[in-house]
């Protein structure tokens, strides 16, 4: 499991920039970022190199932040690997709430981050299928 930083954001100009600016000045490195379109408000989800520091810093600047454990999966950059993983989860009837991918991996295999209703079952399925989940240290 890896740690994800979730931040409540209103849908207004500059909302995301305020967060990246705060993290930048706190010298926190963003590894993955995801935000989906919602009319009034949304949740900005980040994977960063120092989640604890990110939370402290953002909280002190008035943001509401939650750290959450999510599953990170390393997938070979080949055709069908994502489809394979999703097929396994789908067969096990696991519902996914969201999924996003890492921005930079410097030559290493891409990582998909997702959150499912039944995380334990998801981990079980992925282990059984030999799909590599990564740990916080491996990022």
């Amino acid at each position: 499991m890896i740690k994800q930083v979730s931040i409540f954001v209103e849908n207004k100009p500059g909302a995301m920039m305020e967060i990246t600016e705060a993290l930048s000045s706190a010298q926190v490195n963003i590894r993955a970022i995801a935000a989906f379109d919602t009319p009034e408000f949304g949740i900005l989800r980040l994977v960063v190199d120092n989640p604890k520091k990110a939370k402290e810093d953002l909280t002190s600047k008035g943001f509401v932040v939650r750290i959450q454990e999510v599953i990170g999966v390393e997938l070979q950059d080949e055709k069908g690997t994502l489809n394979h993983m999703l097929t396994c989860l789908s067969r096990a009837n696991i519902n996914m709430n969201y999924i996003y991918s890492f921005v930079i991996r410097q030559g290493r295999a891409p990582i998909m981050v997702f959150q499912a209703d039944d995380e334990e079952k998801a981990k079980e399925v992925l282990t059984r299928e030999g799909i590599k989940m990564i740990k916080e240290e491996e990022l």
Binding site: S6, F8, F36, T38, V64, Q115
Partner: protein
């Protein structure tokens, strides 16, 4: 549709004896009634007995209306503390009706009526309807809500006293309102001014202005401007009148606008108005602004002495062009508290706070914004999402938004648009927080 021009307007005065009475005669009636009501509350309501005892006051000390300033005040909080029947001055079996309005917290402000109280209420509304040129040949389409809210039933009681036809539509469903208005040949309609404007625009859009027989609009229960009155009048080519009342005192029919629109005539033989400096409690001179305070002179079930309305207005006592000697109160220029009237419903920020608290945890920071969109009041409540409310799932945040909306609707009695906002995004102010922004141009 036939707007009556001032030149050919025929003033209808239901009770010329009372409504055009000399000041001396009126004061004699008021003095007699005040003495009687003070005696009754002293003898039958522990609340007033105790208040008067504390002040060293006995009913005999009140010899006439000029002694009214000696009497204790009554506030909305007193009504809340004595909820629901603590201020009743008659045996329980004599109460024939209750009506209510929102209180400062979750509980209602409740008023009780005896049969005579309901009759007096109907008579006052009948006087008000007459003042608007309505008589027994008229058909009054009532699209105020019927229920605990006094609007619908109040106009209905007046129509009955007058012998006019009442069309008890209640609020909502504009299409159906317009259909019935046309089909039943309504000649007058009664609703909040904001709904009147919306209805008028809808009638115009439907191209039905010429099909309507409406001649008169009776609108109150929320603040409106002269411009708004003229707008409704112009769209439908009718005459519109402002009606005032509050449930604590009786409901609509406490005061009424006449065709000269120089202020609302108070039926002071039943409801004695004072305008006081809210800081010193000293009476204001005529034309000087202060807080409007009412004493019910004839009420049986729940008489109130010097009830502070918290509405800011001024009073004029010169004889009106319509012939009435009844004093006139001006349109309200504000409140001494932060109550807002939204779609005819009294809304207090404290109610919003209580509702949010009822969801558990600490009440989040919030702000109310009142707008008028296409003639209708819209209340938006901004709620800051803090640690206790934030979830990593949009679905849960959506649920939260809906739950807040539901709790607020249940507490306030009107639908509310909820906006979840970032923490600290609602500005803090030194001292008293600004909880309400009213963008309506009233």
């Amino acid at each position: 549709m036939a707007r009556v021009k001032n030149a050919v307007w025929q003033e209808k005065i239901r009770d010329p004896h009372i409504e055009c009475m000399s000041r001396d005669e009126m004061q004699a009636i008021q003095s007699e009634r005040l003495q009687s009501v003070v005696k009754r509350v002293y003898e039958h309501t522990p609340f007033y007995y105790n208040k008067m005892k504390e002040m060293g006051l006995e009913p005999g000390d009140i010899r006439g209306i000029e002694d009214i300033h000696k009497l204790p005040f009554t506030t909305k909080e007193d009504l809340r503390d004595n909820y629901p029947f603590g201020l009743v001055a008659v045996p329980q079996e004599e109460i024939v009706r209750v009506q209510g309005t929102s209180g400062t917290t979750g509980k209602l402000t409740l008023a009780s009526y005896s049969q005579k109280d309901v009759d007096v209420w109907g008579e006052c509304v009948a006087r008000a309807l007459s003042m608007a040129g309505i008589d027994q040949s008229d058909r009054i389409h009532v699209c105020y809500g019927y229920g605990l809210f006094t609007g619908g039933l109040g106009i209905d009681f007046g129509a009955r006293e007058l012998g006019a036809m009442s069309i008890p539509m209640s609020a909502g469903n504009t299409k159906r309102q317009i259909m019935c208005m046309e089909d039943f040949g309504a000649t007058a309609f009664a609703c909040t001014p904001s709904y009147a404007l919306y209805l008028a625009e809808s009638i115009r859009e439907a191209g039905l202005v010429d099909k309507m027989k409406i001649r008169v609009g009776i609108h109150g229960a929320e603040p409106w401007t002269e411009e708004m009155r003229k707008e409704i009048e112009d769209i439908l080519d009718i005459d519109c009148f402002d009606i005032y009342g509050l449930c604590e005192i009786t409901g609509p029919g406490v005061a009424m606008d006449c065709i000269h629109h120089k202020g609302l005539h108070v039926f002071e033989d039943h409801f004695y108005p004072e305008v006081l400096n809210p800081k010193t409690n000293e009476p204001c001179a005529d034309n000087e602004s202060g807080e409007l305070v009412f004493t019910t002179l004839s009420k049986e079930a729940m008489p109130l002495l010097r009830y502070r309305t918290k509405d800011i207005t001024s009073i004029q006592r010169d004889v009106c062009e319509c012939g009435r000697t009844l004093p006139r109160i001006q349109k309200f220029t504000g409140r001494t508290d932060d109550m807002k009237v939204i779609r005819g419903v009294n809304v207090f920020p404290t109610q919003v706070e209580a509702a949010l608290l009822s969801m558990g945890g600490v009440a989040p920071h919030y702000k109310m914004i009142v707008d008028r969109v296409e003639g209708q009041d819209v209340l938006t409540v901004m709620v800051e999402v803090d640690e206790q409310y934030f979830s990593d799932e949009i679905r849960k945040l959506d649920e939260l938004k809906q739950r807040v909306g539901k709790v607020l609707k249940e507490t306030l009695g009107i639908s509310v648009k909820v906006r979840l906002v970032e923490p600290k995004s609602i500005e803090r102010s030194e001292g008293k927080a600004v909880r309400v922004i009213d963008n309506r141009d009233l």
